[in-house]
Symmetry: C2
Subunit: 243 residues, 2 copies
């Protein structure tokens, strides 16, 4: 029986979603597989998104096969009792035998959080990037709107699979609340470090050091040397995967 | 020159605000004094509230004496560059020579956060208590309203200083946003573990296991054996001190 699960995790203590061989530091995938083994399930875990070291998730989707006689709710309770406090199975349900969380996904949403205050806030260190200047939220909004549509995103990353750097971005939002700014991007797929490099390119625009026109030129040039650097992982969270 | 500072900290790694002798585990006070020593200032640090191990602060107030030739903004930058990432000086200003953050305070505000979802949320573990049942926010609001005024709060804690268990509570709010509930209490002073014991008494009311009348009876009886247990420290945050 194949199961589909929505999971959340604090990625701080992990080297990323993907298990490495040999496993030198813990991965989300390896920890999930370890928890399944402890309750007598030996199969592998498939994930929708290969989040990097330190990246969080509130809506990652995984799939795995089990041989389980009890209800799905019992399995979810057993898994959550076995998993460490920084990983949880939020939803669990039966899927079709061929369900694949990565290949079947039609879109993924990532959120990057910035804390723009003069002094860093120790209560946000773990889940947001501190930017010690006030950012112009409207300038960020105007810039991200140019990302919507089907583009060659080579400026912002390399492909994780295959050769194409073309992706379709469906939604780009900038939400501000107090000193926090959340940049939310939904696309059919993301290149390696794409969200973090987009944010690294947006920050100088928010500071007024670069313009909306610069951002458009960087996107259109499809030249990775002109974009900003990838910002730190702790601000990033995989919030949703749609099927 | 005496300085007054508003500081924030993530209390997870500390055994509390107060320095212990000998210092076996780090304290906020000891860490602040260590940072001051590193920039050539040998004095002690006074705090407004003695937060317990694991309790956070977004608006703790401290005072210390310095012999500093440069501006206060330079000192703030030097301190923030020296302090670890989980402590920050948000504001720093000159105070009168006799300013005492504890004795001069007219009120303190604490906030306790509860996350009420069936499955624990790993991204809230550090800053909220997980309650695996839905809580009745209106029932919590009706109960906390009875705390407002001058009462003998002996039901909910012991005095940290002196003998009196009478305190004046000025404000009691319950704010709900999504799956988070924030209980905010402002008083002229708090007994030892008072906020955490109030919350421990409120949770069964939110669950419908105890009533508003029970809460009033517990408060009026001033008997610590009838109140609930002190809930975990990670949900608690000292948010403001007024002078």
């Amino acid at each position: 029986m194949r199961l589909k699960a929505v999971i959340a995790y604090d990625g701080t203590a992990y080297h990323g979603f993907q298990r490495q061989a040999p496993e030198r530091e813990p991965s989300i995938q390896g920890t999930l597989e370890g928890a399944l083994r402890k309750i007598g399930q030996a199969g592998g875990v498939l994930g929708a998104g290969r989040t990097d070291a330190g990246v969080h998730a509130s809506g990652q989707v995984i799939a795995f096969d089990v041989n389980w006689r009890h209800g799905v709710a019992d399995l979810q309770r057993a898994l959550n009792a076995t998993l460490p406090a920084d990983i949880a199975v939020l939803e669990l349900e039966q899927a079709t035998d061929t369900f694949h969380p990565r290949y079947d996904a039609v879109s993924r949403t990532y959120r990057y959080r910035l804390s723009h205050t003069r002094v860093r806030n120790p209560l946000l260190t773990r889940y947001a990037l501190h930017v010690p200047q006030e950012l112009d939220v409207e300038a960020l909004r105007r810039a991200v709107a140019h990302l919507i549509g089907t583009h060659d995103f080579a400026a912002f990353g390399q492909p994780t699979v295959g050769e194409s750097t073309t992706r379709s971005l469906y939604r780009a939002e900038v939400n501000a609340e107090g000193s926090l700014i959340a940049i939310e991007l939904e696309a059919n797929g993301f290149l390696y470090r794409m969200v973090r490099r987009i944010v690294g390119t947006l920050i100088p625009i928010g500071r007024g050091e670069r313009t909306e026109a610069d951002f458009v030129a960087i996107l259109q040039a499809a030249d990775p040397h002109r974009a900003g650097p990838a910002v730190a992982p702790q601000g990033l969270c995989l919030t949703q995967v749609n099927y």
